[in-house]
């Protein structure tokens, strides 16, 4: 009798014909026959390259790491989804700071009531606790898929994820939204994604993961941008960090890779987007820069403006300075750099925060922000706070995606002072 191989969640994966009670000797029975037939026992055979799976014994191994700090990191990584990978060859340190951030470890097994999808229950909980009415949800490790060497994997996995998320999760709660992953290593697959998922409940836009090397102004992407512009969907660039980025190979700390990575890729795409005149070519395509914080934007505005004034011949499509186009794009707040409020105030002025900035929590990631990061800022008007916390998003995505009576609010209560982390 055959047994079905089960995946980690216990669901049927595929009927493989594997026998109940897998046994290596049985598995290799035909090899044993060959050995007998050929009389292998009559001479010496040496196998100079065989393997086993050390990950199966990871806890037993890492207890022998002699450096106590590295041993602690390895032990903490046991609670990540892929413990060996976390310490061996992914980031130099996991996001959860060797277990100091507790959410990742406990969230997965968080009990919820059985009738509602686990993801929906947990997302609802976090929204209610933080005070969020609508949440645009993105995946996590999939954000690295743009760097996968096989574009077919990006296409297949992003398609499957989006089907699952739109059909099994978003359908359960109209307050949960998403911007759909575009597998931009393949234009036809991206167009198919737009065709298939555009108009689905909960889909408020489409998203390019910024960790990818192909030039965003390449002619091949013309149909993608046209399709989005025609349908009125905003396009988000969601930043990532990538410890294997060639330039980051010398970075030994997560803090370093994260601090630069999340702005690095978006700076490259923003520069190509503006200098190649895409805002002029697709004037109705709204672009959002996600999860890069804000401090990079004034830097890049000044840098590009300065060079544009000298080398405008290299940006022939631009009718205005780069910073003017950038000031018409949209930005998500998190992780908002709040250590110097005067600088933050200047930043908000330069990016036209009152109309272009949208609150983002990034929950449950390690550097999440709360709405208080915005509503406690002493220099913002009530109107600006309301806009950043909700109105700008409703205007950008379209009221049709929200309750008919979406309450855009009339007053925001701050605590009258910035957080203590703000000076």
């Amino acid at each position: 009798m055959t047994d079905q191989l089960l995946n980690r969640t216990g669901t049927d994966l595929i009927n493989t014909g594997v026998r109940e009670g897998f046994n290596t000797r049985e598995h290799l029975r035909n090899a044993e026959r060959q050995a007998q037939d050929r009389g292998f026992d009559k001479f010496t055979i040496v196998d100079v390259d065989a393997h086993h799976y050390e990950m199966d014994h990871w806890p037993a191994i890492i207890k022998y790491i002699e450096d106590p700090v590295i041993r602690h990191r390895a032990e903490a990584a046991i609670h990540s989804s892929d413990p060996a990978r976390t310490i061996l060859h992914n980031s130099p340190l996991p996001q959860n700071m060797a277990g100091r951030i507790l959410r990742e470890r406990y969230r997965r097994g968080e009990p919820t009531d059985g009738d509602t999808h686990h993801e929906v229950s947990v997302i609802r909980r976090q929204m209610k606790a933080i005070g969020i009415d609508y949440q645009v949800v993105f995946p996590t490790p999939m954000l690295e898929l743009g760097l996968h060497p096989d574009p077919l994997i990006e296409i297949a996995v992003s398609w499957a994820y989006t089907r699952w998320f739109t059909e099994e999760v978003l359908a359960d709660d109209p307050a949960i939204k998403t911007m759909v992953y575009l597998p931009m290593n393949d234009v036809r697959a991206s167009l198919r994604t737009i065709e298939q998922f555009g108009g689905k409940p909960g889909v408020v836009g489409f998203m390019i993961t910024s960790g990818r090397f192909q030039a965003i102004h390449s002619n091949k992407y013309v149909p993608v941008f046209r399709a989005l512009e025609e349908r009125g969907y905003p396009l988000g660039f969601h930043a990532i960090h990538n410890a294997k980025e060639r330039m980051f190979e010398g970075m030994n700390r997560f803090i370093s890779v994260h601090a630069l990575g999340f702005v690095f890729y978006n700076m490259v795409h923003m520069t190509n987007w503006v200098i190649n005149g895409l805002p002029e070519r697709y004037p109705n395509l709204k672009v959002i820069w996600i999860e890069s914080g804000l401090a990079w934007v004034p830097f890049l505005m000044q840098r590009l403006d300065n060079e544009f004034l000298m080398r405008s011949s290299e940006a022939p499509l631009l009718q205005r300075r780069p910073s003017e186009y950038m000031g018409e794009m949209y930005y998500s707040t998190q992780p908002m750099e709040t250590v110097d409020l005067q600088t933050l105030q200047q930043t908000m002025r330069m990016i036209n925060a009152e109309t272009q900035l949208m609150f983002a929590s990034d929950y449950p990631h390690w550097d999440f922000d709360l709405p208080s990061t915005v509503c406690d800022l002493p220099f913002l008007s009530q109107e600006a706070k309301l806009n950043i916390l909700g109105r700008n998003a409703v205007r950008l995505f379209g009221k049709e995606h929200f309750d008919a009576e979406v309450d855009l609010g009339t007053a925001v209560e701050g605590n009258g002072r910035a957080r203590v982390s703000q000076q």
Binding site: P68, H72, R100, I101, L370, R417, R419, S421
Partner: protein, 130 residues
């Protein structure tokens, strides 16, 4: 003085810590070496439940005699309380923020009498940002 009985010492000896509420204030009681510490359970960063985080030694970078970096080391005599929300670390017993020592968790004087832990709520030592 406004002393409140918040726990029996034996409870802390069992678990090392306890979160209690006095009025509307959540207080994290920590047994640290032979002392009981009482901090408001509100992180100075974004208000996270700081008293529910990891207790772990501080980390320092070690160099050999030639100035070569040889690795990170736990500091044996410096314990940190780590906020579980984003990882802000506070030095025990004082509650100074490790990365910004001029900031300190709000703390309360504690006395232990007859095995009873008492917290003086009027004598807090820092303004927090709840």
């Amino acid at each position: 003085m406004s002393e409140h009985y918040v726990a029996d010492l034996t409870e802390l000896q069992d678990s090392g810590r306890k979160i209690v509420r006095v009025g509307s204030t959540d207080i994290a009681l920590l047994l640290f070496e032979d002392d009981v510490l009482a901090f408001q359970n509100v992180c100075m960063h974004m208000g996270g439940p700081v008293g529910e985080g990891m207790l772990i030694n501080a980390i320092t970078a070690e160099f050999d005699a030639d100035g070569n970096y040889v690795g990170d080391r736990f500091v044996e005599d410096e314990m940190h309380l780590v906020c579980p929300w984003h990882g802000w670390e506070y030095v025990l017993p004082g509650g100074q923020c490790a990365a910004a020592p001029e900031r300190r968790l709000r703390s309360f004087p504690v006395s232990v009498r007859d095995g009873r832990v008492l917290v003086d709520m009027e004598a807090d030592t820092a303004i927090s940002n709840g």
